[in-house]
């Protein structure tokens, strides 16, 4: 069996950017199958496969597709969220570079299934090369009739457009992305109403991550049965992990869901650089809480939890820190990211993230005071759960994670009035 059939990135070296190469290796077979079997079959297969959204939240994809398909309002839209902007996350980029037709096939499947005539790929602004590549790929597909009016003789139409973001992390949040796509300021919307019923232009909209769309052809190719046997039973399928930091072989790894964190770091990535010891791992992008070396046994899927932390897999961005890294500095850099990226809509996130940043900075500079740790926890506690969207929550989760796991380093900074790792920044 061709690798193209059951892998998201079949070849780590080759970029499949010509449509004939993709076809030759079994591309668009899933679309043809769906065109014969009908939309209901596609949804059934996704539901049976147990696919969950790969953007970080892990929402059951089948339910989302069904909800959009059931809505009777027209027109409907599909949006691919390719605004990959969280530090350490670069898996979608690999899909777009190496196997872009898989995404288009996934989107065509979605359009056919939910009866959407127009689709957008909301591409991260900092991926200019991919913009041109995607335009080319879409043109090739249109020429061959895989998208466009009455594509594949399905009676369905699909026009695809690539929209470049303008550099705001918040636009990766589904509703902010839609606002941005509508030409408005990128700020999240109130829910309900939900995107599936009231999305782009107030119409039913299916918005999913690149990797999620890319999984759908695989499900149809190998069948829901076989797919559901890959990885963890509750969140099956292949998963891309972007590993960065102090490992020997950083990069994107396609592994079954549920793989233990230690296996990723030590088996696939060759362990810690320079033979040093591991100090900390951020398992699923900076929105997840940091873990210590004794947490590495945990499995990477949507249901696993580590002691004292929320979900760990997030977007699958594993960031590894060795023993020489200052945790206060790391916490500060992440806090700075969230403060910079807070859209400013709600008070707790807009003001709170900036205060977390300010307090962490003064700690790192050796100017922290005794009460700062308590104050930090209190500010985080007031952001978490009270902010408009998950950005504020993430900032709080991240900071509390560092305080929980590396509280001693924070105290050392305050007591020693300097950074023990050679700071300050």
């Amino acid at each position: 069996m061709s690798k193209l059939i059951d892998r998201i990135i079949p070849d780590p070296v080759r970029c499949i950017t010509g449509i004939s190469a993709y076809e030759a290796e079994g591309g668009f077979r899933a679309l043809k199958k769906a065109a014969r079997a009908g939309p209901d079959f596609v949804i059934e297969e996704i539901v049976r496969a147990g696919l969950r959204g790969r953007g970080g939240a892990g929402f059951p994809t089948g339910r989302k597709w069904a909800a959009v398909a059931e809505d009777t309002a027209t027109p409907k839209y599909i949006i691919c969220n390719a605004d990959e902007g969280e530090p350490g996350t670069f898996k979608d980029r690999l899909i777009l570079e190496k196997n872009p037709f898989l995404l288009i096939e996934g989107m065509a499947l979605a359009a056919f299934t939910v009866k959407a005539g127009v689709g957008y790929i909301y591409l991260r602004g900092e991926y200019p090369a991919l913009f041109h590549l995607l335009e080319d790929v879409i043109a090739q597909c249109r020429k061959k009739g895989y998208i466009g009016p009455d594509f594949m003789g399905t009676g369905a139409d699909l026009e695809l457009y690539v929209h470049r973001g303008a550099g705001a992390y918040i636009c990766g949040e589904e509703t902010a992305m839609i606002e941005s796509l509508e030409g408005k300021r990128g700020q999240p919307r109130s829910r309900p109403p939900y995107t599936v019923n009231y999305g782009y232009m107030g119409k039913p909209t299916l918005a999913s991550n690149v990797e999620t769309f890319a999984n759908v052809p695989i499900i149809l190719n190998i069948g829901a049965e076989s797919y559901s046997k890959i990885g963890s039973p509750e969140s099956p399928g292949p998963k891309l992990f972007s590993v960065s930091g102090d490992v020997v072989r950083p990069g994107v790894y396609e592994l079954p869901m549920g793989v233990p964190l230690s296996e990723i770091i030590y088996e696939h990535c060759g362990g810690i650089k320079g033979g040093r010891a591991l100090k900390a791992v951020i398992p699923g992008g900076v929105s997840t809480a940091v873990l210590r070396s004794d947490d590495l046994a945990c499995r990477m899927d949507f249901t696993s939890k580590c002691e004292g932390s929320m979900g760990i897999i997030g977007s699958g961005a594993v960031i590894v820190f060795d023993e020489e890294t200052c945790m206060v500095h790391t916490a500060y850099r992440i806090a700075k990211f969230f403060a910079h990226e807070s859209c400013g809509k709600c008070t707790p996130c807009r003001e709170g993230t900036d205060w977390i940043r300010a307090i962490l900075l003064r700690m790192e500079q050796g100017l922290g005071v005794e009460d700062d740790i308590r104050l930090l926890r209190e500010v985080c506690g007031n952001i978490a759960g009270n902010s408009f969207c998950a950005l504020g929550d993430s900032a709080a989760i991240s900071t509390i994670g560092f305080l929980d796991k590396f509280g001693d380093e924070f105290e050392a900074h305050i007591k020693g009035k300097t950074c023990p790792f050679g700071g300050p920044v």
């Binding site: 705001a168 400013g344 807009r350 003001e351 759960g385 009270n386």
Partner: protein
């Protein structure tokens, strides 16, 4: 409406299914703090003060953006909620300048009040105070970014509610700021709604700056003196002066909305141009006199005119701006003490034309608007009217219908207006040709048999049908420039509407419409099965309807009681050859500036034996008078006004009268007494009692008797080679007449009659933007500044007509009949 039942703080309450928790609570008298919520706006969920607990849920919910559900149990106050709110306030205060001692908002600041209620007394964060410079470059409005809490209410009221979008949030996170695009200077309607909704002192009104502490100011609600909307203004009064005008949420017809005129224009009351004493012409000059002298002078000279030429040599002009009482007394004095029916008003060239049409089409004397009708209509047709300029607040209802209620808005208008910009369908016709567009639509409807079959039994149907024969889509295209496909499409859609509505205005300075336009609109409505209540023509000014009901018309008395011997109307009195009128009383009107064909008007006035002008200031007309009497202004007197909605509203006395000025009705009372023809109405109470007996102010559109009145498109004046351009006159968003030009506030936004002309026309004539041009008609020539724009189409000029110095009316001419009175002009570089 579909209701749900939920429990808030243990109290069972009912709310519509679409309501938010916050709204359900407020509607049931339960307080929830909030900074970013406003009844008129889409919930935002930004401030996070309205957090509440929901039974069975771990996290707190923003009550403003969480819909109610059956059986929901909500708790709005607890220690946990108080902690969350306190934290939000603490965060808001970290970088706030805390400059309450010099902030105009102090004392009525929501942030201040909430900080007092929930604490904290001090912030534990030692943050830098924001120190951005204040932005004071725009007229009327100023912005202090340091005090801003980024609730976004100003941005949303401007974009969502007003349909303007002059400002937005720029930047991100902590560095977010409210700003016009590219941080340019504010260029907007200057309605000031943003100042009203600002919960803190970030947005301020320049005229109010440092005028008073909130708690030293007395507040009084009264009705706005400007257009027919009849909005309620809340006046701030300090040391005998009106220093502020704002809207109050939920109060009056307008429910808190106000336009720039109502908010920034009421300072005319304190204009230093106000008259303080009567003036009598002695030795060719107007000189100060006592009331006794003035009254004696008038009485003597009036008697002389009556003795020599009879009472029909006396005429009077009433005012749509004065109260019902003032106008009633004027006509009573004229009819009973003098014995003349020569009574009219400028409305003869404005709303009277609409009334004529309404009478012919529906047999009704008065047809007020139904204020909320746009919200229940599914298809609204706007007929060559810039309603958001003439009636800004009612105009918002049309925009709301489109935005919130999914109505189709079709706008027939050559000019780019707020409504044509937002319209679902903009039919950009040649100026003044609405009648042809409407006829074309009707012809399509008849051709396709999609008209209401019951309409065939209305009188005039056969005549209408034969009249429309000639209005083929192709002919209509030739007349109006609208493509047959678009015309037919608009006609089909309007005919398919379940609740169609047609809206237009007919102000005295609007020369692009006339009675025929009203008739054609009424024909269309009847043809699609709609009646009189689907025709919305808001009366022009604050008391237009009240003035008519009081009997200011030559052919009818109070409540439109027909007269045996009608008097002369405005057109006969001012423009008629051999007009018998030798003495004239003009109350609150400025014919030299406001009446068309100013040269003729001036000639008429100069030829009078007696001209008495009652006004606030020495207007250009007053300068020609024999006697000028200082009248008390709005705000200085009590009375009743009836605006577009036909609802009588009281205006109250808020401040003392300026100088020796007295209310207009008292002037007539005193004059009658002096002439020993006492009206017997000594007090306001007795006057109001008499009015109550004679005027009902009840209007019933169900008594309408529909009748088709087929009309042709007729232009009173055609363009030719020499005068190739069409000059349309009207008003501006900020200016509607003489009063607004007395307002320092409004004059700071626009103070000149800038003529809008199309880029292509300007190019041919080599006219640059802001260049001066000479505009000449067959009657005169004036010089104006040009604004080169594509807001008006080729061949059209648009100019506001009421700036006294611009003298636009030297070019115009009166037309009280059905024809459109657009002026043919030529333009050259000045």
């Amino acid at each position: 409406m579909d209701q749900v039942e939920l429990t808030i703080n243990g109290k069972k309450v009912k709310a519509p299914r679409t309501s938010s928790i916050l709204k359900a609570a407020l509607d049931n008298g339960i307080y929830i703090p909030k900074l970013c919520w406003d009844r008129r706006l889409t919930p935002y969920g930004g401030c996070r003060l309205c957090l509440v607990e929901m039974e069975g849920q771990r996290k707190l919910f923003a009550s403003c953006s969480t819909p109610v559900k059956d059986g929901m149990e909500i708790n709005t106050e607890s220690d946990r909620i108080a902690r969350a709110r306190k934290s939000v306030l603490e965060l808001l205060l970290v970088n706030h300048p805390l400059d309450c001692p010099i902030c105009d908002k102090a004392g009525e600041c929501e942030l201040q009040d909430l900080a007092f209620k929930y604490g904290p007394s001090a912030s534990r964060f030692k943050g830098e105070r924001k120190q951005a410079p204040e932005v004071t470059t725009a007229p009327l409005l100023e912005r202090n970014p340091n005090r801003c809490i980024l609730c976004g209410k100003c941005v949303r009221i401007c974009g969502e509610h007003q349909g303007v979008g002059a400002i937005d949030l720029i930047g991100r996170g902590y560095d977010t700021e409210v700003s016009p695009a590219f941080e340019e200077s504010l260029d907007c309607e200057f309605c000031g709604q943003c100042v009203d909704v600002c919960p803190v002192g970030a947005l301020g009104s320049k005229p109010f700056r440092f005028r008073s502490r909130a708690w030293y100011m007395e507040e009084k609600n009264t009705v706005c003196p400007y257009c027919g909307c009849g909005c309620t203004v809340t006046l701030g009064i300090s040391e005998g002066k009106i220093i502020r005008s704002v809207g109050t949420d939920g109060v009056g017809l307008s429910k808190g909305d106000l336009c720039g005129r109502g908010r920034f224009g009421v300072d005319y009351v304190h204009s230093d141009k106000r008259l303080t004493k009567p003036l009598i012409r002695k030795d060719g000059k107007l000189q100060e006199a006592t009331w006794e002298e003035a009254t004696a002078y008038i009485s003597e000279n009036l008697k002389a005119v009556i003795d020599s030429s009879g009472p029909e040599a006396v005429g009077a002009i009433g005012s749509q701006r004065c109260t019902v009482e003032d106008n009633y007394m004027l006509q009573k004095f004229m009819r009973e003490a003098v014995g003349t029916n020569n009574i009219d008003s400028l409305a003869a060239l404005g709303y009277s034309k609409a009334q004529k049409g309404i009478k012919q089409a529906f047999g009704l004397d008065t047809l007020p608007i139904d204020y909320n009708s746009p919200l229940t209509s599914d298809s609204i047709l706007v007929v060559e009217s810039d309603i958001t300029s003439t009636h800004p607040v009612w105009g918002l209802k049309l925009y709301a219908a489109l935005r919130d209620f999914g109505a189709t808005l079709t706008v027939i208008d050559p000019k780019l207006t707020k409504l044509s910009r937002h319209a679902s369908e903009w039919l950009r016709n040649t100026p003044g040709t609405a009648v042809a567009v409407l006829n074309g639509m009707m012809r399509t409807i008849l051709d396709e048999g999609i008209h209401d079959k019951d309409a065939e039994s209305h009188p005039g149907f056969a005549e209408l049908k034969s009249k429309l024969e000639e209005y083929t889509p192709e002919k209509v295209e030739g007349l109006t420039g609208i493509h047959p496909d678009r015309l037919k499409d608009a006609a089909r859609k309007f005919a398919a509407a379940e609740r169609p509505l047609a809206c237009m205005t007919l102000g005295a300075n609007e020369n692009n419409k006339s009675t025929d336009t009203v008739l054609a609109t009424a024909n269309l409505l009847m043809l699609v099965g709609a009646g009189a209540d689907a025709l919305e023509i808001p009366a022009e000014l604050t008391n237009t309807i009240g003035m008519f009901e009081a009997g200011i018309r030559p052919d009818a008395g109070p409540s439109h009681t027909p007269l045996e011997k009608p008097g002369l109307g405005l057109v006969e009195m001012f423009y008629g050859e051999n007009s018998p009128v030798k003495a004239m009383f003009i109350m609150g009107e400025n014919p030299v500036v406001s009446f068309p064909q100013a040269e003729v008007v001036e000639g008429t006035l100069k030829g009078l034996d007696l001209l008495v002008v009652q006004d606030l200031m020495l207007s250009d007309t007053a300068k020609l008078a024999h006697v000028v009497l200082p009248a008390a202004s709005w705000g200085e007197k009590e009375g009743t006004v009836v605006g577009a909605s036909g609802q009588p509203q009281k205006v109250i006395k808020c401040i003392e009268q300026t100088g020796e000025s007295v209310p207009d009705w008292q002037i007539f009372r005193n004059l009658a007494r002096f002439m020993q023809k006492d009206t017997g109405l000594g007090t306001l109470e007795s006057l109001q009692q008499e009015i109550e007996g004679k005027v009902s102010f009840e209007f019933d559109s169900s008594k309408a008797t529909p009748q088709f009145n087929p009309v042709d498109l007729t232009m009173a004046e055609e363009t030719d080679k020499e005068y190739p351009l069409k000059m349309v006159t009207g008003n501006l968003m900020q200016h509607s007449g003489s009063l607004t030009t007395l307002s320092k506030g409004l004059e700071s936004v626009v103070s000149d009659a800038i003529v809008q002309m199309n880029k292509a026309d300007a190019k041919v004539l080599e006219i640059g933007d802001e260049g001066y041009i000479k505009v000449a008609s067959r009657r005169g020539e004036i010089t104006l500044k040009a604004k080169v724009t594509d807001e008006v189409p080729e061949g059209m000029l648009y100019v506001p007509s009421h700036f006294p110095h611009a003298r636009v009316h030297l070019l115009t001419y009166p037309s009280a009949n059905g024809a459109v009175s657009i002026v043919a002009v030529k333009v050259e570089k000045a």
